[in-house]
Amino acid sequence: MIHLLNILGRSEIDEWRDHWSSAAALVINDLAVSLQEKFDGDISNSGFTDALVRQRGFIVTKVEPHLRMVTIPVIEKIVDEANVALRQIANHHAVWQERPLLVQLPDGSVDGLRDVAMTAAPFAAGAATAVALPAMAVTTSAAWFGLVTVTAISWPVVIGGSTLAAVAFAIGSYRGKGMKDRAHERLRKSVHQHVVATLIKGDDKQQAILQQVITLLQETAREARRHRL
């Protein structure tokens, strides 16, 4: 026998996943744009030594802490709002389920809905982990930090510094009037790459924040569907 409520509920959950995936993509991209602009300003104001010699240090001490400080509340906000929306879907369907049904529902269907409401919990756990991670992730290790799970967002540590060392060495052979500008430009590009790799486009070993958020939404939607919604 057909369960229209379940079918509609699944569609709503899919729409929820798509809506928040899209929102996350656009918000995080906007964040990357504004952060790049802010760091461009910082680089312009930085000294020649910073740009030429201490590029890795610049990213570790100036870019990374600010990136985390600004990004984490944004991710929390996205996760919180998505969580609220998912609860609304579950609550709405719970109301419907309490009514007499045209079709026969299997035993335990209401319990299933209660469980669906609890699928929001992994989000909360994920947010908490995300908040905790930045403090743990202050490292310049050559390895990516964190394990990506379906219920947690880990802060990717992009090792821009190690590649920048080579860049700085190459610059060291330059002489002339434009040397500082070129050094600033190379630092600027490295910072942009760092921001993008952290927020939007990671790699197979370490997903960027956006990729993790979308994976998390996808997995949560899958879990909610599994609970008969």
């Binding site: 057909i2 509609l8 996943r17 798509d18 995936s21 991209n29 906007d30 939007i200 486009k201």
Partner: protein, 340 residues
Amino acid sequence: MTIVGNFFWRKVPEHLIAALKTGELKVYGSIIRSISTGRIAGHLQQTSALHEIGDLVRGGMSLPLQGLGLASQTATVIQNEQIKRAVAAIQELQLTNLAFGAVGIGVSVASTAILWRKIDAVERQVSSIAGTLDMILSSVEALKQDRIVDDFARLRAVVEQMNEAWILSDPARQWNDVARDAHNLSSVFERRIIAIIDTGEVDPIVAEPMLSALSLATDTRISARLASGATLAAREVASAGAETMSKFAGHFGLGTAALKRMESDAVQAGSLSWAEAFKRHETELRQLLTDQRARVTALASNGLTISEIERQGIHGRKWLEAAREEDVPFLYLNAETSSA
């Protein structure tokens, strides 16, 4: 209020239209349902007349239905009473372009010509994604292009036989054959969708032709079962079809698909251009996914409507005959039971 064949009404009752306008009721596929309580207020069945109009629109006639002003303007230009009635009915039901889209309302009573054109459109979809499909085809035998072409030819034959049976003196055997063949075809299309998913494909556009074909085959099977009076079987086909389509529809997520598409765009992430490109992909994907979900809702609601006509003792053939012959856009069936 004209009652057709002692069970259909040619117009949705005014109090329901009023509730649809306030938002208390909403149309989900073929049912009108309370959004606050889940009560089913009534059932809708699209007629052949509306299928014809929808076909004209899909064929290129401009008929925007998003707003009253636009729809009125279009109707004035077209100067066609039937189209104007269809527009009015769709507006009354607070539908947008759903009834003219790929998804119908109620059991399919579309003509062979219309269904063939839909199959043509599906084949064009296959051509448009040939590059992507080729990559998949190279590794999956079940997706070989020549076999796909053969199966679309079989689907054409099945929908033709479905409608041809209406002029036979004893159509029951042919409808049974149609139901069996449509079932076999559905299985083939399902296997192809599974094969696509198993390759790790995340873009719904790749599976869309097979999903459309599966939907057409399932609709034809339901019509055949209902026409031959096998109401229970028709209901089960709708129910199982909705479950299957729901599973497939849920596999494809907008975010993952859009990010994958962005990989082949020469746009720098973290830029305003990236946001614009993402929105373009998002718009296209959202429409596609919305259509896929609408098909699921249509199938699920058809199962409920078929349950209702069974409960009211209406013969499926009478139901379909009325939908084929009436010239109003929709027929309405009052709900004797209340919730879903």
